[in-house]
């Protein structure tokens, strides 16, 4: 998946859940860095469903 496509996905999910895009992006990267990785590819990127789950995780704390 292209780099801009990744960014579009983060922006779309952040908007859907009313999250700050920058905090959400940093949160996702922090999860990946600590082994909580997605299954989209071997880089550990998140699928749409996984990313929405992460968004719920963050939203529930606000």
């Amino acid at each position: 998946m292209g780099r801009k496509r990744d960014l579009k996905r983060v922006d779309a999910v952040a908007r859907e859940f009313g999250l700050d895009r920058d905090e959400f992006g940093a949160y996702l990267e922090d999860c990946k860095a600590h082994g909580d990785r997605g299954t989209e590819n071997d880089r550990g990127d998140f699928t749409w469903a996984e990313m929405r789950e992460k968004a719920r995780e963050l939203k529930d704390q606000q």
Binding site: G2, K8, R15, E16, Y27, L28, C31, G35
Partner: protein, 199 residues
């Protein structure tokens, strides 16, 4: 953090948004971070910490500067000042990687070789027009002799299906966020500056 914003000014064409970039001049460099999607964000100004969040591995706090430059749909090259080195990124999406050449001599490092505390001395927008790209680039000079050059890259084809009911937003070429507002530049020859309500 979520702020309500309202349009203040916008435009198309020549980079007439240069006055908004003056907000960055004089601010000290803090740190850089790659966010999800390989977006490089350069943080300046005063360091701020977001609220404590918890995830599966423990605690997370969003650390950021009062001013931040987000290199989104762009390739970038950063030339070191005190230490002769070059960092670059985003060129995998660009058919002309040779653009990274000629900026200086040194190693290709992954992280920007900018000295923490070095203040921004100039922020200069410029027009970019080449195959598949029309937009605005940006050059930032810092007091330690380092420079950052930002170059818009071509739009990428959407290759995979998206969930029903979801629309994909446009990705700006780059953005500057400050306490006074958000400058969004690109894609293409458009820009917009929005301010938080009450500013």
């Amino acid at each position: 953090m979520s702020i309500a914003i309202e349009p203040r000014s916008s435009g198309i064409g020549v980079p007439s948004f240069g006055n908004h970039l003056l907000q960055l001049v004089g601010e000290p460099f803090l740190f850089s971070r790659r966010s999800y999607g390989d977006e490089l964000v350069l943080h300046f100004g005063e360091r701020l910490l977001g609220p404590v969040r918890r995830n599966k591995h423990g605690e997370f706090r969003y650390e950021h500067g009062t001013h931040s430059l987000h290199l989104r749909g762009s390739a970038w090259v950063i030339k070191g000042g005190r230490i002769p080195s070059i960092a670059n990124g985003g060129f995998h999406a660009d058919p002309q990687p040779e653009l990274a050449e000629g900026v200086g001599q040194g190693n290709n490092e992954r992280e920007p070789p900018i000295t923490p505390g070095a203040r921004v001395t100039a922020a200069i927008p410029f027009s970019v027009e080449r195959e598949a790209v029309k937009g605005f680039g940006l050059r930032i000079d810092l007091a330690d002799g380092s420079s950052a050059i930002v170059l818009p890259t071509p739009e990428e084809l959407d290759e995979e299906p998206i969930p029903v009911g979801t629309t994909l937003p446009e990705i700006a070429d780059w953005e500057l966020r400050t306490p006074h507002g958000i400058l969004v530049v690109g894609p293409g020859l458009k820009w917009e500056f929005t301010t938080p309500e009450g500013v």
